[in-house]
């Protein structure tokens, strides 16, 4: 593996996304183990602060494509530019974050480069001299380990939160400006604007205690079981995506990749299986309690305390105990 490892820097409004530091940490480790160079690439406009933020992250070089046309470019143009940069660097691996941005860009970049892409990965490491990725299958109940063949190239999209944070390095990366003729890229789409979700009546991101309800609740009429628990604990009610999709709770209550990221002291997950999109939004909670009838549910991968059982038995009993404790306190 003599070719470099390329990490794609994700940023918005001049700030580097935290997933990038995880990618750089893991890229650095892989580069050291295999004796190749680590290169980072950022595309966009006004990238000075972006370059400065990652320059001491242990990579050898950071490549910038800084162009006003990239300030608000559609995904097809971004993928084209990234593929062009990748062609110039000719890396063995391209590491990218598996969030909504990466989900859209990864297949397009890989397809342009004619590379395999492995998305949703929880690990990439060297095992027996071979690049090995681990990724979930079948609703995350199974993990598959996949070995890349010698000299095979791949785009690897990694989940957030599975890796230690960045160690800074005394090595300052050299900055290389690369120009790509962005306006000549054939594009049949354009970004009209960026919209922020209007604030609702509750901000679940501010809560210290969250009781979150998932698809396991079964139907809208039963949501009250979890609402009562939230109230008895003095917390707020939140939910996973399917509950919003079914129209049982408003979108402002949604925890996860497309909803809010929360870090409460207590997170009680009731009937939530734990799809990666949900875990992304709550895995940093101080104490995670999961109640689920399926012992293999991925939520137990991140939970500190778990109950394998029927939430319709456990939740009302906990609500009752919490209410009684309050009465005793008063």
């Amino acid at each position: 593996m003599a070719r470099d490892i390329l990490v794609l820097v994700e940023h918005a409004e001049g700030k580097v996304d935290s997933i990038t530091s995880q990618l750089l940490t893991i890229g650095h480790r892989l580069a050291e183990q295999t004796g190749v160079k680590l290169v980072a690439a950022a595309i966009g406009h006004k990238l000075d602060s972006v370059a400065a933020a990652v320059q001491d992250s242990g990579m050898d070089k950071i490549v910038l494509v800084d162009d006003p046309a990239l300030a608000l470019a559609p995904a097809e143009v971004q993928a084209h530019v990234i593929a062009e940069v990748a062609r110039q660097i000719d890396p063995c691996l391209v590491l990218i974050g598996y969030n909504l941005v990466g989900m859209e860009l990864t297949p397009a970049i890989a397809s342009q480069l004619g590379m395999n892409a492995f998305t949703n990965c929880v690990a990439v490491e060297i095992r027996d001299d071979a690049v090995t990725v681990t990724r979930p299958l079948f609703d995350s109940t199974i993990h598959a380990q996949i070995v890349l063949e010698e000299n095979a190239t791949a785009v690897i999209a990694l989940q957030k939160g599975s890796f230690p944070p960045l160690e800074t390095s005394s090595k300052q990366a050299t900055v290389e400006l690369v120009s790509v003729d962005v306006t000549s890229i054939p594009s049949r789409s354009r970004v009209v604007g960026i919209i922020e979700e209007p604030r609702g009546e509750v901000d679940i991101a501010k809560a210290e205690i969250i009781v979150a309800v998932g698809r396991g609740i079964g139907n809208e009429e039963k949501i009250h079981f979890t609402a009562e628990l939230a109230e008895a604990l003095g917390g707020v009610l939140a939910c996973s995506r399917p509950v919003v999709d079914m129209g049982w709770l408003p979108r402002e209550r949604q925890v996860g990749a497309s909803g809010k990221t929360v870090t409460p002291k207590i997170y009680v997950a009731c009937g939530i299986s734990g799809a990666i999109q949900h875990l992304t939004g709550m895995r940093e909670a101080k104490r995670i309690i999961a109640i689920n009838k399926d012992p293999n549910a991925p939520i137990f991968q991140v939970a500190h305390v778990g109950v394998v059982g029927d939430l319709f038995e456990i939740v009302p009993a906990l609500t009752k105990a919490a209410k009684e404790a309050r009465v005793r306190q008063d």
């Binding site: 397009a108 960026i194 059982g309 009752k320």
Partner: protein, 255 residues
């Protein structure tokens, strides 16, 4: 507006999972196949657009004869035509090449599909096919508006409550997010009637794909197993009162 919806047929409970002899596929006892939930939302959106703007909805799925059930289900929901591509591959590169070749045989203004399938959790095939066909694309779309019959304006998720509004010239491919429309119920009588509708099929030969594009390359599976526990979860046991008491104590000590 003519819309093609790509629906994957996915197994429910999977047992006896093994790595295939070629090392690049997985074998399992898959019970009943059903429509991948994310793709069902794409179908609902297509039917909603058809009601508003007219045109035809064609549903396409890839796989063996068992996949036909999913196509009948889509017909029962209101799709006009169904096409099965007789090719089985879970490899994203192969699947997107096959899908792109099949789409070339169909007439469409818009291709809709979901964000990912519950079996491989890859989320690649739609956008990779769009790239092969040179179509503009958008992922995690939560709203679609037709503009003058030659463009769509969509709202797509960027994560954390942020969205982008994107205008795409037609034909385009959209991966729609779950919840874009409520899922409709299909009465059993309609499902039975739908089984009398024709389903056309395309073979790899019909698609004229060279054999080397139908074979996964560059990797092999070495292990499949339940996720390793990276940290120990403390599982509480007992009757409901005991569990409730223990849980409350855990909650109180964390505050």
């Amino acid at each position: 507006m003519n819309i093609v919806v790509c629906c994957k047929a996915v197994p429910g409970l999977v047992t006896d999972l093994k790595i295939g002899l070629d090392g690049r596929s997985l074998q399992y006892q898959g019970q009943l196949l059903s429509i991948n939930e994310c793709d069902e939302y794409a179908l609902e959106e297509a039917l909603t657009l058809k009601r508003a703007h007219g045109g035809q909805v064609t549903v396409i799925s890839m796989g063996g004869i068992k996949v036909q059930d999913v196509l009948y289900y889509a017909l029962a929901k209101g799709a006009d035509k169904a096409v099965r591509v007789d090719c089985e591959s879970q490899d994203p590169r192969v699947a997107s090449a096959v899908l792109a070749a099949a789409l070339k045989k169909l007439e469409f203004d818009l291709v809709l599909t979901g964000t990912q399938s519950r079996d491989t959790l890859g989320g690649q095939v739609g956008i990779a096919a769009a790239n092969l066909l040179g179509l503009p694309f958008a992922y995690a779309v939560v709203d679609v508006e037709l503009h003058d019959n030659n463009a769509v304006k969509v709202r797509k998720e960027l994560g954390g409550g942020r969205y982008a509004e994107v205008e795409l010239a037609l034909p385009a491919l959209l991966c729609v997010q779950t919840g874009i429309q409520p899922l409709s119920f299909v009465p059993p009588a309609r499902r039975i009637r739908a089984r009398q509708q024709p389903v056309s099929s395309l073979s790899p030969t019909d698609l004229g794909l060279p054999a080397d594009q139908l074979v996964p390359k560059g990797y092999r599976f070495v292990a499949v197993h339940p996720p390793e526990r990276t940290h120990q979860v403390e599982l509480l046991q007992g009757n409901r009162q005991e569990i409730a008491t223990a849980l409350l104590a855990k909650i109180q000590e964390s505050l």
